[in-house]
């Protein structure tokens, strides 16, 4: 019964006019940037972080979360209509969704994607509400060694499961940790890596790195590509509603997709792309006539779309209950919490119940809004696709610039972001994934702190990480992740999935 009381409390928070409004802005913006190819949720949230300073914490987090799951919806719209995945998670949706659109069934494809995401979102809301509190309770008993091991596991998992070369991703985690060191050491008061700049003694701003690497570098990269013509199926979006047969065919894939997405969602580091791809493969295996896949099978839209939405939402479980971000976007959300003066961790749930339960309830409300809003607005989204990139990117730059400047009212931060824009582009070209770097950057100071504390408690004995049962568990899990992913068979399969 406590679950229901908590959810009712959550809804009472989320249904205030202010929170509803921010939820709406969030999902609207999320869909918008999900539709637009050159900009993702990561850059958007990074740019908008400073704007949330003046907003109460609950409303800010509700909005940022809305951008995140709204982007998953938007990404599927362009995948279906234009064969252009707005987000990586929608790559799989292109396979059958676009074929459906070419057969004049764009309407049902869009509708089933939205309905599947809605069902997945609703189920995940309940999952978060059910598993959040017990997890937080366990986490409250964690000491420094447990936290260190947990963070190590999170970082290693994030690097190993990320797209691209494992060693390079691990190096990027180290890069992030190193960047996190810049600034004054809490224990000794010594300024490290400050290069004589007084601005650097407070550390590098979170927004600076995020905007530099994820907004500016992305724009440089997009500008280096030639513009291509897109074929848009606008006129053919007639008859939105799927038939009864479509519904019956999609229900199974939606539920299985939700299960797959929730599973991958809780694992740190796995992006929604892995969840949606796994769901697609499963549906293809289960289908009586796998030949239909790739030719407009509705299951190929329903499953992956549910899976990526479930994944996006379940990423909030480790983030909110343990204070450990499960993806780069979650790292930004944690950053937003920190900026609001809320230390992320298991205590959030007990100290700030309105934040936790309000957010959980708002996700359900946001998903409802997306369902109601998106189908009628499809025309608007499609016309947005015709806006050329040369008009789009200066707007992104303007928002980024003002965003960075307004954090500390400092030009220094803007210069620093410009430098990170260049560095980030070099990383992109050398195929060094920047997402693990951001996780390392966020967790770096916490990790060092917990490492020092753990060794202080144990009087310098490093076996402390292996003698305490929970910590040992995390260490074994870390080792298992590395061993499994380094196994040749898995390595090959992974290369196929992540491309």
């Amino acid at each position: 019964m406590e679950l229901f009381n908590n959810l009712i409390f959550g809804f009472s928070v989320a249904l205030s006019w202010q929170n509803l409004w921010f939820c709406f802005i969030g999902v609207f913006l999320g869909t918008l940037i999900g539709v637009l190819p050159g900009i993702g949720p990561l850059a958007t949230i990074a740019m908008l972080l400073p704007i949330t300073f003046n907003v109460p914490p609950v409303a800010a987090i509700i909005m940022l979360a809305g951008i995140y799951y709204g982007a998953q919806y938007g990404g599927s719209t362009t995948a279906i209509l234009v064969n252009l995945p707005g987000e990586v998670s929608a790559v799989v949706t292109c396979l059958d969704g676009y074929q459906m659109a070419r057969q004049g069934r764009a309407g049902p494809a869009l509708a089933i994607a939205a309905i599947g995401s809605f069902i997945a979102g609703s189920i995940c809301t309940v999952i978060i509400a059910m598993f959040g509190p017990p997890l937080a309770e366990v986490a409250l008993k964690f000491g420094a060694p447990e936290y260190f091991s947990l963070m190590l596991m999170g970082l290693v998992a994030a690097a190993v499961l990320a797209h691209g070369d494992m060693i390079k991703s691990l190096s990027m985690v180290a890069m992030g940790l190193l960047l996190g060191i810049v600034g004054t050491d809490v224990n000794s008061g010594m300024a490290r890596f400050s290069f004589g700049f007084s601005e650097l003694t407070d550390g590098i701003g979170f927004v600076v790195i995020a905007v530099g690497v994820f907004a500016i570098s992305e724009i440089v990269s997009n500008l280096s590509e030639k513009t291509e013509d897109r074929e848009v199926f606008t006129s053919k979006v007639t008859g939105l509603f799927p038939t009864w047969k479509d519904f019956k065919q999609s229900l199974g894939p939606i539920l299985r997709g939700t299960a797959i997405g929730s599973f991958f969602g809780v694992l740190p580091g796995t992006g929604p792309a892995i969840a949606s791809f796994s769901s697609y493969m499963l549906e293809k295996k289960l289908a009586k006539d796998p030949d239909r896949f790739g030719k407009g099978a509705i299951e190929g839209v329903a499953g992956p779309e549910s899976a990526n939405n479930a994944d996006a939402q379940c990423k909030f479980i480790p983030t909110l209950t343990l204070g450990i971000p499960a993806s780069a976007v979650m790292a930004l959300i944690l950053g937003a919490l920190t900026i609001q003066g809320i230390a992320p961790g298991p205590q959030v749930m007990t100290q700030k119940p309105d934040l936790f339960w309000g957010l959980v309830a708002s996700m359900w409300i946001g998903n409802t809004m997306l369902l109601v809003l998106n189908l009628p607005l499809i025309g608007l989204w499609v016309s947005l696709l015709k806006v050329p990139y040369r008009l789009l990117f200066p707007a992104i730059i303007v928002f980024s610039g003002i965003g960075i400047y307004s954090v500390n009212n400092s030009s220094f931060d803007v210069y620093l972001a410009a430098i990170f824009g260049v560095i980030g582009f070099v990383w992109l070209r050398l195929e060094c994934a920047p997402a693990p770097m951001l996780l390392g950057f966020v967790l770096g100071p916490l990790m060092e702190e917990n490492l020092r504390r753990a060794l202080l408690i144990s009087r310098g004995d490093p076996t402390v990480f292996f003698t305490r049962p929970i910590s040992l568990g995390f260490m074994i899990a870390t080792a298992l992740i590395v061993i499994v992913m380094a196994a040749p068979a898995v390595k090959k399969r992974r290369a196929e999935i992540t491309g």
Binding site: A174, S224, L391, I397, F399, G421
Partner: protein
């Protein structure tokens, strides 16, 4: 056949990691190391820098074996102009105020694209500046002067 190292993706990635990791260790050389029991401020950066440099060597060797090339162009135009736009913006925010800084930012960054159409950019500058002023200065109440010294 001459092996072109400047085009070798993983060789460059490894080099970048070695330089960063090694540089980190070099800069941290004077920070007190402390002991495992009481770690000084130098402990974490030096260990990390070492790990990074080691990974870097591995990546570099991989690059020499696999010889994978860097994909895509370096798009020098955008890579140089966009940071300049940001620097101009930061500088003008301090010197001339919000509106001149924004207008300059829009004009310079628009030059980073492969097409620069004067009329379009002028219209865009007016619209974007008006919208941002409305949203950030009047809407969110950010305390920046629109024009400095006027």
């Amino acid at each position: 056949m001459k092996v072109n190292l400047l085009d070798n993706r993983d060789f460059l990635a490894g080099l970048m990691l070695i330089v960063t990791g090694g540089g980190g260790m070099f800069l941290a050389r004077d920070y007190p190391m402390g002991s495992a029991l009481r770690m000084g401020p130098g402990y974490f950066p030096i260990v990390l820098g070492g790990i990074m440099a080691a990974f870097g060597i591995y990546v570099m060797v991989q690059g020499l074996i696999k010889k994978e090339k860097v994909q895509g162009t370096w798009s020098l135009r955008a890579l140089i102009i966009l940071p300049i736009a940001a620097v101009v913006f930061g500088f003008l925010m301090e010197e001339l105020g919000f509106i001149p800084a924004l207008v300059a930012l829009i004009f310079v960054s628009a030059a980073a694209g492969d097409q620069f159409k004067w009329i379009e950019v002028v219209v865009m500058a007016i619209v974007l500046t008006a919208c941002s002023t409305g949203l950030f200065i009047y809407g969110l109440g950010l305390p920046y002067p629109l024009f400095k010294g006027m």
